[in-house]
């Protein structure tokens, strides 16, 4: 069906001449311009179900598109509603750095670096060799104790859960991860679909730890706990030297928001719900 979309004003103002050449021009939502910020140009945000059962986001009457020009479709309703809420939360200007779920969906849909599942799994497992939880210090003594008390339980949990050995080390090269461990994780990660893997890799990159990310995804840790464990040394130094709000708090909230967005993305993309009604028999 023909949809009459209009091109948004570009900086050069060449809109009019272009529309004469191609009157049926497609609307492109410019996600980023170098100089100006995008203003909120829509009143209502709503979702609708298109063909194939995929959900789309509507800004007023226009359908949202990815930066690559594709139609923005989401496989399940919960994620669509969450993305719509993100767009609705914008006030006068659009702040794309707060719309983490939208960014993740765009990455999954466009796949700008053209990667497949195997490449993403390999990239994620590379973090295992330099996992935060496995890198220990030798001094100060308080930090050594803290790392032992906080990080060891998580290591034990993941070693039991997946039947692997990871271990921790305090030398500069890090722990030796046996091949069997990597294969177990590779097999486990292969069971996730492409969207979930996008989210999972995002969480791993943000937290700098495969162990903590698997902890959140398997619901052993909450997001706040995992962020705290990831920033353990920083928190130790903050307690010692004091907190700087515009740096420490800002980083903590940003890390929490990104990790929460990533894990929500994984959980919503990998679960499916069925409703079974049990009726009371009289």
């Amino acid at each position: 069906m023909f949809r009459n979309l209009f091109r948004l004003q570009t900086q050069l103002g060449s809109c009019l001449s272009l529309s004469k050449i191609c009157p049926r021009s497609q609307h492109v939502l410019k996600y980023s311009t170098a100089t100006t910020e995008r203003k909120r140009f829509y009143q209502d945000v709503s979702i609708s179900q298109g063909e194939g059962g995929l959900f789309e986001i509507n800004l007023d009457r226009r359908k949202l598109k990815t930066p690559g020009g594709k139609l923005f479709t989401v496989p399940n309703e919960a994620l669509a509603i969450a993305v719509a809420t993100e767009w609705d939360a914008q006030r006068d200007t659009l702040k794309f750095y707060t719309m983490h779920l939208t960014t993740l969906c765009n990455t999954a849909l466009d796949n700008p670096t053209q990667r497949d599942k195997t490449q993403m799994i390999n990239a994620s497992l590379k973090f295992l060799e330099t996992d935060t939880v496995c890198y220990r210090v030798d001094e100060p003594h308080g930090l050594v104790e803290l790392q032992k008390n906080e990080w060891d339980p998580v290591l034990h949990w993941i070693e039991n859960r997946y039947n692997v050995t990871i271990g921790s080390s305090s030398n500069i090269l890090g722990p030796e991860i046996p091949e069997a461990t990597k294969d177990t994780f590779r097999q486990h990660l292969n069971s996730y679909n492409f969207w979930s893997l996008t989210g999972l890799e995002y969480v791993i990159t943000q937290l700098k730890s495969v162990v903590l990310s698997m902890g959140i995804i398997d619901r052993h840790l909450s997001v706040e706990q995992a962020v705290l464990l990831s920033r353990l040394e920083e928190e130790y130094q903050i307690q010692h030297w004091g907190n700087v709000e515009w740096a420490h708090d800002y980083d903590m909230y940003e890390l929490r928001a990104r990790a929460a967005a990533g894990t929500l993305f994984v959980h919503l993309s990998s679960e499916s719900t069925t409703v079974k009604c049990k009726l009371m028999q009289d």
Partner: protein, 110 residues
């Protein structure tokens, strides 16, 4: 298992965040309806340890964390990293410093 706050507190937290986003009309949005549906659906379960209930609880907790931390991050961003002009005194006051004063004025000022 993760030590999460009770489902009631998570639900109220999410509703508070939604009210902060939308204002008075937060009950009209699709997210409000979806959240209330999910909480009601998962309330009643036939099993003692219901995995779907635990999963929904964890997801709700993650969403609350997402909403709350994005809002806090934006507040801090607007205080410290916004483009508005500050006078020298207020800019120093952001990080808790005061401008130095010299009693008697500087020698070369008139």
């Amino acid at each position: 298992m993760a030590a999460l706050s009770s489902p009631l507190r998570v639900c109220r937290g999410i509703l508070k965040e939604l009210r902060a986003i939308h204002g008075a009309a937060y009950k009209q949005g699709p997210m409000y309806r979806y959240v209330m549906d999910q909480f009601r659906k998962n309330q009643i379960t036939g099993e003692r340890y219901c995995r779907a209930q635990q999963e929904a609880h964890h997801d709700a907790h993650s969403y609350l964390c997402l909403l709350a931390s994005t809002r806090s991050q934006m507040i801090l961003h607007n205080i410290y990293h916004s483009k508005e002009e500050h006078s020298i005194e207020s800019a120093a006051g952001l990080v808790g410093l005061r401008l130095p004063t010299q009693p008697g004025g500087k020698g070369w000022e008139k």
